[in-house]
């Protein structure tokens, strides 16, 4: 091995302090720490890490430049393959992607690829460096629907190739889940999300907010009346699911999406903003994904005592390991093998508790996952003032139902092939709207693939 130093730890806000604020939990590396950590990378000839990065970042190459202290060059390498490195360095589930395959991980700890990526992206932003190389306009225009990671990645690549790109976004701020879902303390909005989206704008991409495709305009009107030659749909999977149990419409039962949208997009935690949010004293969060962790940690910061209720065991928690670890440090209580069967209300129709049933893990099903089964007569009540449902999301049917010829599957996802081509010629799609709720970097990978396919399609026309 090149050197035997252990993985350089990253500095974080003290859990006791950070539960009282919305500032970022992780401080990231400074220059010395980054160079030291970079020196651990073996610069593999055939790097395993790259294969598991959905956008194939040239990992050993950029890390080598960090080791040498050539941060600008490192940034140039990063921005070739990713338009949102400061975002991905923060929120990618690295343990199951790039870092999960790093050769150093076999015997010890993998290189901190994500933290290095974040360092380089932050450094170049702070220095005001932008990479705006693009081909001259080729006279063709493409519309991108949705400004989440899929749309941003697709728009970036198309702009670089010379297309005139306009992104249409339904909400008032671009960014998709990065803006309305993932909290400030994990992903700062002003410094990181806005800044990376401004980079995309400086490539010449136009972003029009407040345009709800399917209502304000349609795919057909964009193609027929507004002259777009191709369309990319990256509208995500934003529709919240509920359990369908009694009491779910009581006051103070909210979806994680509503709770997080109020806090993130609408900045309810900030007294300067006018958005109301209701947190009560005790909050129960139902679910175990990243979304549940974000809702739980947000509620804790707004002053509540938070319990996460999850029907499997800790091992099956779908959330990133780092998030669960942080949530625990912050004092959030986990009740595993527990499933709600009814929300209890008081005489005024407000939540007062949650009746749950104990679960056990049964035999593995076809997918190999052991599914939870209720233990008869094991009902018990949890007292709580607020219930946040975090049971997953599905794509909004609005675009599919207003676009003739666009097929969906039984989960309301758009049907698209490997390259992103939908059942409608000239219309491509990618990200959560095709796969169902997944990850930022998978959405970006799909956006990039579709950009390539759109280029081939338009060249052949």
């Amino acid at each position: 091995m090149r050197n035997k130093i252990p993985r350089v730890p990253v500095r974080e806000q003290d859990p006791k302090e950070r539960v009282k604020n919305f500032s970022e939990v992780c401080f990231g590396y400074n220059e010395e720490e980054a160079m030291l950590e970079a020196s651990r990378c073996l610069g593999c000839k055939n790097p395993a890490c790259v294969k598991d990065c959905p956008v194939n970042i040239q990992i050993p190459q950029f890390i080598y430049q960090v080791e040498l202290g050539n941060f600008e060059e490192a940034a140039r390498i990063l921005f070739t393959d990713s338009s949102l490195p400061a975002v991905c360095g923060r929120v990618c589930p690295q343990e199951s992607q790039c870092e999960g395959k790093c050769i150093l991980g076999v015997k010890g700890e993998p290189v901190a690829i994500g933290k290095l990526e974040r360092f380089v992206a932050d450094w170049s932003r702070e220095k005001g460096i932008k990479f705006t190389d693009r081909k001259p306009l080729n006279g063709k225009s493409v519309a991108v629907i949705g400004s989440g990671p899929a749309g941003i990645a697709c728009a970036t690549d198309l702009a670089k190739m010379g297309y005139d790109v306009t992104i249409f976004e339904a909400l008032h701020e671009p960014g998709g889940v990065l803006q309305y879902g993932i909290p400030e303390f994990r992903l700062p909005k002003e410094d990181v999300v806005k800044a990376e989206i401004d980079n995309v704008r400086s490539l010449g991409v136009k972003i029009e907010t407040n345009v709800v495709v399917g209502r304000t305009v349609t795919i057909d009107s964009l193609m027929d009346d507004e002259g777009f030659s191709a369309i990319f749909i990256g509208s995500g999977a934003g529709l919240p699911k509920f359990m369908g149990i009694p009491g779910e419409n009581l006051n103070a039962v909210v979806s994680a999406n509503e709770f997080l949208t109020r806090s993130n997009l609408m900045r309810a935690y900030d007294p300067e903003y006018e958005t109301p949010i209701y947190v009560g004293k005790r909050v129960a969060v139902v679910g175990g994904g990243n979304v549940a962790m974000d809702a739980a940690r947000t509620a804790q910061r707004l002053g509540a005592q938070v319990t996460v209720v999850y029907r499997r065991t800790e091992k099956e928690l779908p959330a990133r390991v780092e998030e669960v670890h942080h949530a625990k440090e912050e004092g959030i209580v986990f009740r595993m093998l527990t499933n709600p069967v009814e929300v209890l209300g008081d005489e005024k129709g407000w939540v007062r508790g949650l009746t749950c049933i104990k679960m056990e893990l049964g035999e593995p099903d076809a997918s190999g996952r052991r599914s939870p089964v209720p233990i008869p007569d094991s009902n018990f009540d949890i007292e709580t003032d607020v219930v946040i449902m975090s049971l997953g999301t599905s794509p909004n049917p609005l675009i599919a139902t207003t676009t003739p010829g666009l097929q969906t599957n039984r989960w309301d996802c758009l049907v698209a092939d490997e390259s992103g081509a939908t059942t409608r010629p000239g219309v491509f799609a990618g990200g959560d709207v095709v796969t169902g709720a997944a990850t930022v970097i998978l959405a970006m990978g799909a956006g990039r693939k579709a950009a390539e396919a759109i280029d081939i399609y338009l060249q052949s026309k």
């Binding site: 339904a170 909400l171 008032h172 309305y180 907010t209 407040n210 345009v211 709800v212 209502r215 304000t216 305009v217 934003g238 529709l239 919240p240 509920f242 369908g244 779910e248 419409n249 006051n251 103070a252 909210v254 979806s255 999406n257 509503e258 949208t261 109020r262 609408m266 900045r267 309810a268 935690y269 007294p271 300067e272 903003y273 006018e274 958005t275 109301p276 949010i277 209701y278 947190v279 009560g280 004293k281 707004l302 002053g303 005024k348 129709g349 407000w350 003032d385 909004n396 609005l398």
Partner: protein
């Protein structure tokens, strides 16, 4: 930015505005709504599309002061701009899918409570243009709260006005007026009631014994207005619906009004903390 090109007060607390929004003006239909934000720290406020002019590219909104955000809207002037103006949202009224032949054979009655007169207006206008027969009941607290009287008069067959204090039209509630019409043998194919939740509930109870088909437009709480949050959920026929995408109009007889009214008040105490300063640790007052 979306510029206000015309503004006038209809009453001291209700303002009408034409707003420059060409894309929306082209696609808006009766029954739909939109979402505005006044400034970059403001709430997303749902308002009904009260009229639209695709040639001028403007959309008309009518806002009544009930709290901080609606007051801000009403305080804006011609030449000012909204930072956000998104829509049209929701399903258009069902009758827009009917043909002229079908509609001209039908008779409608609209029951408008207070500000509800504004969203009723584009629907009546549309039906009138399609040759349908339309009667309208407008109810208000007093004479100076009656809006859209002249506009409505020119597009409906019979206009009935009632006020709580009897200062104009008939003294009494819209439900009494409706009952009187039905009792004296007036027959309608479809009724539509728009106004405060409590009024829509009582219109529903009044119309039920007459088997009068009735549609109501639910003004639930909303955040995004696109189906993403579920703040707007209502029970309709014991199924949960999202008012912003499945509605806002529903079959009145299937709506759980008690639940809808309770849910609408969810942030009442927080909103009433005049300028909503600190939201951390706010307690629920009952």
């Amino acid at each position: 930015m979306y510029k206000i090109v015309r503004k006038k007060f209809l009453t001291p607390l209700i303002a009408l505005m034409d707003v420059d929004a060409p894309r929306m003006a082209r696609s808006a239909k009766p029954g739909q709504f939109l979402i505005v934000r006044v400034h970059d720290k403001g709430e997303r406020i749902p308002l009904t599309v009260c009229d639209f002019d695709s040639e001028k590219g403007t959309v008309t909104i009518v806002t009544q002061v009930v709290g901080a955000s609606s007051r801000r809207i009403c305080n804006m002037d011609e030449g000012d701009s909204f930072v956000d103006f998104a829509g049209p949202l929701g399903q258009p009224s069902e009758f827009i899918h009917m043909s002229r032949e079908e509609l001209s054979a039908k008779r409608f009655i609209f029951i408008a409570g207070g500000l509800g007169t504004a969203p009723v207006y584009p629907q009546v206008k549309f039906l009138h243009s399609m040759g349908a027969k339309v009667d309208v009941i407008i109810g208000a607290k007093s004479k100076d709260m009656v809006i859209f009287e002249q506009e409505m008069r020119s597009i409906c067959d019979n206009l009935y006005i009632c006020t709580d204090d009897g200062s104009y039209g008939k003294k009494g509630l819209v439900t009494e007026m409706l009952k009187e019409l039905l009792d004296r043998g007036e027959r309608y194919d479809q009724a539509v009631a728009i106004g405060p939740m409590i009024m829509m509930k009582f219109v529903t109870l009044t119309a039920k014994p007459y088997n009068l088909p009735l549609i109501v437009s639910l003004n639930t709480l909303m955040v995004d207005g696109t189906g993403m949050c579920g703040a707007c959920r209502v029970s309709v026929g014991s199924k949960t619906k999202f008012a912003c995408v499945d509605g806002p109009e529903f079959d009145a007889y299937l709506v759980d009004f008690e639940e809808a009214m309770r849910r609408q008040g969810m942030y009442k105490n927080i909103e009433q903390q005049a300028d909503h300063k600190c939201k951390i640790g706010i307690e629920r007052q009952q």
